[in-house]
Point group: C2
Chain length 269, copies 2
């Protein structure tokens, strides 16, 4: 049995524009994949509005519950950018104009344009450490286990890449996908029995519709290599016993690969 | 002053596969836009894992707090589909094989393939009403103010379209976007003053990078038509006074329109 070091995280996506539907979040999936690769288990993601008490409560709940909290959004120069103030409130500290952050802005923004609104982007809760932003310089920051990043995807990504080396990853959860053109309802009973035999693994079933045929990808996720191989072998055998052909691939519906799935079709079958 | 009927909602996206990054959620933005169009304010969205106690707690918190709760995911035939059982637990009721749901499955699935796993899709908490699924027949269901839908986008969408006429919309929040090629930091001070003059409106600033130029779209959202027109007029005047050209458009970065924004560029400017 592999010794498992369980490291957890939550993502808070801050912004009315995501909840109104104006903006489609493009950060969650990217972060989820990166965290998984690092052995950090994303346990929860929340999209919350630009409302102080909601942001403060969500930060305090998440930072107590998970090893890491990542926020996106609300750190620009306008009045609706209130994330830094909310993080300060959540930690019960004041906010200060961070001298190093001011210098970063000065390198990028001509003095005659470095107005009070732009300088607000240098305001950081007392005790916060800066997260570099090579794209547009205005930094994010870290307060203990809370990492505060921009909402613009290109900036969030470089910020995350910069802070990632400082995160302590846990045991990496390994995954093995086995797909077949058997529908979910056909494999369900045998799959449930395999799950019972591997209680420390998560076995998920994900239906797809490809080339006019229904099928499902069966994904085993566990930190234990031996369990992974054994469960996947049992899944392959199950598929074969039911007349299917097991494929070591993670198949999805072709339309599911982009985001506009209006003509996506599936069925339990 | 318009009398405002405030109707609120939360979305719960249930599924390990979204948190691990295997699957990119394609439901939230679609639902957010539909709810906004109906005058229902989406106040929160959560992505949560296939873990009973987490699902039960999230449902109970959300159904007490908001007028409507919409869940996606976890209603298929496999062992990892536990949403119906969790909703029953959240409401403190048992679960039953719904005769009408069984009939629906019988119309679609040949008798020799209608095994126990597939019949599980007819299990509904006692008191639940079915939500029709014209795509693959296995229904969703409603328990009081909680609407339980499939995770597959095409099915979620037809389920939502079917249940939408039964929702009581509130006062529709109107929005007006005014874009310009002035960067956020330039408009921030004046924009904050406009926000102060219209405390019942939400004024948001969203930066973009298009055709080699930075700019931002300033979006006013309010149920009050007079406030909407007046705030938008002040925003246009602000832009003009700062040397910009106001455009009655919701401009975003071209790359932000799809989901792969690796080469997306922006800057506060």
């Amino acid at each position: 049995m592999t010794e498992v070091k369980n490291v957890t995280a939550a993502v808070l996506i801050i912004g009315n524009e995501v909840l109104s539907g104006r903006t489609r979040d493009a950060n969650l999936n990217w972060m989820a994949r990166r965290l998984t690769d690092m052995g950090i288990r994303l346990m929860e993601a929340r999209v919350i509005p630009d409302v102080e008490e909601v942001i403060v409560a969500a930060i305090n709940e998440a930072r107590a519950k998970y090893d890491y909290v990542f926020t996106t959004g609300g750190i620009g120069p306008t009045h609706d950018d209130i994330t830094a103030a909310c993080v300060a409130k959540a930690f019960g500290v004041g906010i200060e104009r961070h001298p190093e952050a001011v210098k970063l802005l000065q390198t990028y923004i001509p003095a005659d344009r470095l107005n009070e609104a732009r300088l607000k982007m240098a305001d950081v809760p007392i005790g916060g450490e800066l997260i570099q932003n090579p794209v547009s310089k205005a930094p994010g920051f870290r307060m203990e286990n809370v990492f505060v990043m921009a909402g613009v995807p290109s900036i969030m990504r470089v910020m995350f890449d910069g802070l990632a080396p400082y995160l302590q990853g846990g045991t990496r959860v390994l995954s093995q996908a086995v797909a077949s053109y058997l529908p979910e309802g056909t494999v369900a009973e045998g799959l449930g029995q395999i799950q019972e035999r591997y209680p420390d693994a998560d076995i998920g079933s994900y239906p797809f519709y490809r080339d006019g045929k229904f099928g499902c990808t069966l994904v085993t996720r566990t930190a234990d290599e031996a369990d992974l191989a054994a469960a996947a072998a049992e899944i392959r055998a199950l598929i074969t016993s039911l007349g299917g052909e097991p494929l070591d691939q993670d198949l999805v519906s072709p339309d599911a690969e982009d985001d506009e799935e209006d003509d996506f079709k599936t069925g339990d079958g």
